[in-house]
Symmetry: C2
Subunit: 241 residues, 2 copies
């Protein structure tokens, strides 16, 4: 067990994370400057810088020289570079357009409630969307969201969107998705999904199972994503650099 308060910079980092989790700073405004934080936490600027640097490395904050340090903003560009891992077979990387298929309020199954860290049978939304690149259907999404976390969500949020879903979470609910864990399988397409993707039944699809997390590992949403695998693929880079 590592104490997060053993060192000054860990203590500062923990305090800043806690303030971020409480949504004290919106994603468009600068957090307090380094000298101010240094005096507030009674440490040197170097120690503040170290704490902030770690949060920057974790994609939680971004620094802008001459302007300040900000909460990361879920722009489409950010999404494309950090979270979106699907490209065409030719290696083209772009964001798809989204079309709403269905919007339902249901009760969470045991599996889903566990992944969302809510009680079994709590109310959730299930949203299905069809994602297309240049009008070519490519991906079927099933999204699961806790109603408690996202009260008063309705169809209209999904039908005409000019922002990413995580951008909406941040703008409307003040919830910032920080990291994501995914598992990928190959499965034969069933009738419903194959038809949407304009594929013959039983052809192999990539199936991506994703859970997104906010501060301190709090689950935000879960989704199952079926991908037209002969035209699109998943990509990944490992090892840093």
């Amino acid at each position: 067990m590592v104490k997060t308060t053993e060192f000054a910079y860990k203590r500062v980092k923990y305090a800043l994370t806690e303030l971020l989790r409480q949504n004290k700073w919106r994603h468009n405004q600068a957090i307090p400057s380094e000298p101010i934080l240094a005096s507030r936490y009674q440490v040197s600027i170097g120690t503040i810088r170290r704490a902030i640097n770690e949060l920057v490395a974790e994609n939680i904050l971004v620094r802008e020289q001459g302007r300040g340090t900000f909460v990361v903003s879920h722009t489409p560009d950010y999404m494309l570079n950090v979270f979106f891992r699907i490209e065409s077979s030719e290696g083209v990387r772009e964001l798809p357009n989204s079309k709403l298929l269905s919007f339902e309020k249901i009760r969470a199954s045991k599996v889903i409630s566990k992944k969302l860290a809510i009680k079994p049978y709590e109310k959730i939304y299930r949203v299905k969307t069809l994602l297309s690149f240049r009008n070519q259907p490519a991906i079927v999404d099933e999204i699961y969201l806790s109603e408690k976390m996202f009260p008063n969500l309705s169809e209209s949020f999904f039908s005409d969107r000019n922002e990413t879903l995580y951008g909406l979470f941040q703008r409307v609910y003040g919830i910032t998705v920080l990291n994501i864990s995914e598992t990928i399988e190959a499965i034969p397409g069933n009738q419903y999904i194959s038809k949407l993707l304009k594929l013959k039944i039983n052809l192999p699809l990539l199936c991506v199972n994703r859970v997104a997390y906010a501060y301190k590992g709090k689950p935000v949403d879960m989704r199952i994503r079926y991908i037209h695998s002969s035209k699109y693929r998943y990509f990944n880079n490992l090892g840093g650099g």
Copy 2:
């Protein structure tokens, strides 16, 4: 175009990377201590630390308090935590055993020579192996290696291995794999691979296409990996933290 020599720490980092690329320091011995490097490059220890910190963040060096700073070592454990992205459907993560299927010397196709950054039709090895977890066949690998980069490679290197392939590259050839890029597709299994994996033909398989790189983006090997997808899956984490 970013000049890598604009700042002292970038200059030091570049110099260290160059020495690493030239294999000046083996992976079992410490690189020079921080005070020595500081005096050698005429900068303060803080600047040396910054350069080293970036190399540590890129998984190139590891620090060990009280002992020194080392070139990262490709132990099985390191492989499992950094590069190996396959787990069982129950979420168990372990390294497979490898059995040699075939070892050939062939000429590179255009596609492969491009990925390995060698001339078309240069001599390469093609190695096929069957990977198993607890004696259950799970993965078929096709590995492509440049003969120029790995002279005098023979079957025996692959038949009885107690180390990972990248561990062998590092120990025998002094080549350290630093990062990896992968694309993942779903494909129907052909007869040859389905049989090896004890699957019916045409069932969906995960197909992972990997290129591994050493210092400065130099390609080391390429492999195509076919995975028994109903028992095993690919996993990934995005966003850091």
